[in-house]
Subunit: 157 residues, 2 copies
């Protein structure tokens, strides 16, 4: 049923309400952008995508909403070393668990999903052991590879 509300928003809406937050146009707009765009968006990226449709929503709201989303565990906040945070919806439903390859030259980011099964196995083992040993409740992990893409590797010479 196409309507003003997105088919996916009721779930988010309920989640917000359940956490004691209100459901607002701004929050909906931000979640819409996050779910429809490619990953690793900065706060400004999101702002620029929200703005054409909702010119009233400011950068402050973007930051505040992303904070809430991160706290609620809906969004993952990354640092790729270029001085600004990047955000991704954790369960984009259609999006696979993935990690990043980051070019130290041009900051290009490649998502990869290879070795996820093997990774999962190792991670599970580590998680069990580390949780016990250090009395830590592990909730997530990051694996990032850094290097140079073919373009930047050439330029270095």
């Amino acid at each position: 049923m196409p309507g003003i509300r997105l088919s996916t928003s009721p779930w988010w809406q309920a989640r917000f309400r359940g956490c004691g937050y209100r459901w607002t146009l701004g929050r909906e707009a931000i979640l819409e952008v996050l779910s429809k765009s490619e990953e690793h968006l900065s706060a400004e990226d999101i702002y620029l995508r929200v703005h054409p449709k909702y010119p009233n929503i400011g950068l402050t709201t973007i930051y505040r909403t992303l904070d809430i989303l991160t706290d609620m565990g809906l969004v993952w906040k990354f640092d790729f070393g270029d001085g600004r945070a990047r955000y991704e919806l954790i369960e984009g439903s259609k999006k696979m668990h993935h990690h990043h390859l980051i070019c130290k030259g041009c900051n290009r980011i490649v998502d990869y999903t290879e070795f996820i099964e093997e990774e999962k196995e190792l991670v599970k083992k580590m998680q069990n052991s580390l949780s016990k040993k250090y009395n830590f409740k592990i909730t997530s992990h990051i694996i990032q590879f850094y290097g140079f893409c073919s373009k930047c590797d050439k330029q270095k010479d």
Copy 2:
């Protein structure tokens, strides 16, 4: 400004010279701190440790030296999500290859060295395959686990 040379510095000195940099008191002091302190120091941490002995060395020099060290591959720059970069000597010779467990509550950081062998194997496989597939020259990687330490886990309830 003549100073007392440390026994470990010749190697670093040679490395600096080999890269076309000069060997200065400031650089020596910073490397001394990095090699003698625990890990994950911020630029300011380093500044505060260098300052008592070398009050003339400013924060600017710390940042500039850390940049060089990172470029030369002697130091690894981390982001643990608290808005400031952290630095560690990569091969502190006595320090094992390790990774980090980060508490999302209090930002406490635990180093762990478990599963490093198994991890290395997987990482090597991933590295080989990803380099080829994405035409990337991979130079380093990060693995970090996030969660809550026992203290912060209790507080959440």
